[in-house]
């Protein structure tokens, strides 16, 4: 009996996580209608941390423990995952869903755990004076709308006066996010703007594309997700809309969004806030230390795809903040509060990206107490159907702060008033 007890206790001790390890929960979605998008991101996120463990012995001598919890892209399950993992030493959450993000903002703030909602979530969370624990660097939806319009302006020869721009969007909070920014930009730039919504799931878009064909907009900006993306690209090709004038947000710009349309997708554009392709030293290391060692989170066949790269980028930004937190506090064993403080002082430079094997992988940016979103820089990528690859065709361009800034101030002020939040950073 005693032997059994000792063995059981020993086994439990071995199974329990070491207290000093760095815990990064991954609220992934590997099942359900959005699994095809969730899997590469989750793989990239996990593989980068596995690389740090295998190659470097973790971060600052502490091993990283990625606790994966399946949300199926469902808000209720996402909240359950948060509740189930937050007491396991969670240092940072990436909710990977705008719906989950909205639910977790008050919870994570109350629990003192930082959240990183990179390119999604509540846009006005950029205002660190109101949202102490939420970070959305390097870019948000309103930045995306601004950078997209900047690109169209360039394509149109420097002026959008008299042009027609249509936003084709998911008929929900995510899809409606850029509308205020685009309405403001329409006033400033003098273009005619209209929005055409698509209901979930978006498998049938004939009405929307017939409308686009009738109204003949000069440019179409697209805010889609899931099957909506593939159908929109296919329908655009079917109605022979000039693909170079059709641009998606970063959640509508992965390989799987364009591959089903074959050659018809050639020239389609998408905004990206990180680089594309596998031509970066870090991927060689991931292949060697993770995939070839049989430690990859998935089959190892997603390296270099847009969403895998996004997962790697998210992990890289988290790891850099963790390193900064360790350095600032003189301890390898950091707390969520230390992690939050480090995220608020994070500066990503070209040298840091190069040192991590990710040269020019994303924009350089700096986070401050007031600004949790960086400079809002995004680049434009274009799909080459014959080579079956995305290519960045622009540098990382900053959004128009004079347009986006006041909108963020107004929205975050309304949130602060609703929730009795006193502004910080004074």
């Amino acid at each position: 009996m005693k032997k059994i007890l000792v063995t059981t206790v020993a086994a439990m001790m071995a199974a329990a996580p070491a207290m000093a390890e760095l815990v990064f929960p991954s609220l992934s979605y590997r099942t359900g209608p959005f699994a095809a998008s969730g899997i590469p991101f989750a793989d990239g996120y996990a593989d980068y941390f596995t690389l740090l463990n295998e190659r470097d012995g973790g971060i600052g001598g502490e091993m990283v423990n990625v606790i994966e919890c399946e949300t199926a892209y469902n808000t209720e399950k996402g909240v359950e995952c948060y509740e189930a993992t937050k007491d396991q030493g969670a240092l940072l959450y990436q909710p990977l869903s705008t719906g989950i993000t909205y639910q977790l903002i008050p919870k994570a703030t109350a629990d003192g755990i930082p959240m990183h909602t990179m390119g999604y979530g509540r846009t006005s969370a950029k205002n660190g004076k109101v949202f102490s624990n939420v970070f959305n660097y390097p870019v948000n939806y309103w930045d995306g709308a601004s950078v997209g319009i900047k690109h169209f302006k360039e394509v149109a020869g420097g002026s959008l006066k008299g042009k027609k721009i249509t936003l084709l969007h998911f008929n929900g909070a995510y899809g409606k996010e850029p509308i205020p920014t685009l309405e403001k930009l329409a006033e400033i730039e003098g273009f005619e703007f209209n929005a055409i919504p698509i209901d979930y799931p978006g498998q049938e878009q004939k009405s929307q594309w017939l409308q686009i064909r009738r109204e003949r907009p000069d440019f179409v900006l697209f805010w889609g997700w899931g099957v909506m993306n593939q159908v929109a690209v296919q329908e655009a090709a079917n109605v022979r809309f000039p693909m170079e004038n059709f641009m998606g947000i970063w959640w509508s710009g992965a390989e799987q969004d364009v591959l089903p349309a074959g050659d018809g997708a050639n020239g389609y554009k998408a905004l990206q806030f990180h680089n594309v392709g596998s031509d970066f030293p870090v991927f060689g290391d991931i292949q060697k230390y993770v995939v070839d060692a049989g430690k990859a989170a998935g089959a190892g066949d997603q390296i270099g795809t847009v969403l895998y790269n996004r997962g790697v980028y998210a992990a890289f930004l988290a790891a850099e903040a963790a390193k900064d937190a360790q350095a600032a506090n003189g301890t390898s064993s950091i707390t969520p509060a230390m992690m939050r403080d480090a995220m608020e002082a994070l500066e990503i430079t070209g040298a840091e990206m190069a040192a991590a094997g990710l040269p020019n992988f994303g924009p350089e940016f700096k986070v401050t107490c007031e600004n949790h979103g960086g400079d809002g820089m995004a680049a434009v990528a274009q799909w080459d159907a014959s080579a079956k690859k995305w290519n960045l065709i622009s540098d990382f361009v900053a959004s128009d702060a004079s347009v986006v800034g006041p909108l963020i101030e107004a929205d975050s002020a309304a949130y602060a008033a609703e929730n009795n939040i006193e502004e910080r950073c004074n």
Partner: protein, 334 residues
């Protein structure tokens, strides 16, 4: 002719085409409900499973590869062949027949005589089980569907230039009609013709109708319920395959395919659960109704009206004909 009227005509034609695609999905529901009284919640997932199986076989994908690799420590994902659709199609039909047999043998055979709600719940379970099996078997990535019966005859996509040119000459505006939709309409007509011919002129078809009319009477004349239900689920599986091919060609084969069932529900409410012509006519009415409403009223109310308007239209019909346009009126004596 006024411009708006010309546009409305284009929308009307596209509504008809969309309606055919909805009807393709609804047909599978009707077949099973008519023969067994089961509302098959899994019909959408069957379309997904069938399309994934077709693409998997075509691309030479090893089924259950992650499971096999994890168990045996191998790293194999493909057999290394690419089969033509003419071979992968009958093989997929074979898999759907096997699935029909398994569903009957392991699920519904044990539920004979149960309340309809129990049978409905069983199909919900079947839907989730089948979705999980499809994921394990073929993976969850989005697959491009290249369906070609010969090297020259592939599923066409894009604008029909003949219609575009003809309507441009008549109205000064070329109509957009998708070649894939035209193909779907032709396939649907052939499919309905084949189903009607099968049920009217073949021994098994007549047996299927006998079971649909009265299980007890059919049993008393020696018809095997087991066999007929396997047959019905197989035919529904084939219809699901056709729907999966048509919808999968538009969006790629992916897990969202199972959601096409949402488009079939208002069609069933309108056309009736027991009528094949009802599914077709219901599909056309829903398709045209939702598209014209979106065209005429959508812009005034912010757009995206199609999903809810289809149900409003179906409910309106239900008020006046609860059994649907072509459904059988159920009279139960106390």
């Amino acid at each position: 002719m006024p411009e708006q009227l010309v546009f409305a005509m284009e929308v009307f034609l596209n509504g008809l085409m969309a309606g055919v695609l909805y009807a393709l999905v609804a047909l599978g529901f009707v077949l099973i409900y008519k023969a067994s009284g089961i509302f098959n919640f899994a019909q959408g997932v069957m379309a997904l499973f069938a399309a994934m199986t077709l693409v998997g076989i075509q691309n030479g994908q090893i089924p259950f590869a992650p499971l096999i690799n994890a168990t045996l420590g191998t790293n194999a994902h493909f057999f290394g062949w690419n089969l033509p659709s003419a071979i992968s199609l009958p093989l997929t039909v074979g898999v759907m027949i096997l699935l029909a047999w398994a569903v009957q043998r392991f699920v519904f055979r044990h539920l004979v005589g149960q309340e309809p709600i129990i049978l409905f719940m069983a199909t919900i379970g079947l839907a989730y089980f089948l979705e999980g099996v499809a994921d394990l078997m073929w993976g969850s990535e989005i697959k491009k569907l290249d369906f070609c019966l010969t090297a020259e005859t592939c599923l066409p996509q894009g604008i029909n230039l003949a219609i575009d040119e003809a309507t441009y000459n008549w109205f000064g505006y070329g109509f957009f009609i998708d070649n894939l939709d035209i193909t779907a309409a032709i396939v649907a007509v052939l499919l309905v013709g084949a189903l009607v011919a099968f049920s009217q002129y073949t021994k098994h078809g007549r047996a299927m109708r006998a079971v649909a009319d009265d299980h007890q009477a059919a049993l008393s004349v020696g018809i095997s319920l087991d066999f007929i239900w396997v047959l019905v689920w197989s035919v529904a599986g084939f219809v699901a395959l056709v729907a999966g091919i048509m919808w999968g060609a538009k969006s790629g084969v992916q897990f969202s395919l199972s959601l096409i069932a949402l488009k079939a529900l208002p069609v069933l409410m309108l056309g009736g659960f027991t009528s094949i012509p009802g599914a077709i006519v219901g599909g056309l009415i829903i398709g045209v109704g939702e598209k014209l409403f979106e065209f005429a009223i959508g812009p005034m109310v912010g757009g995206a009206t199609e999903n809810w308007f289809a149900y409003v239209l179906a409910l309106l019909f239900l008020v006046f004909r609860p059994q649907g346009l072509f459904g059988e009126k159920i009279i139960e004596r106390v």
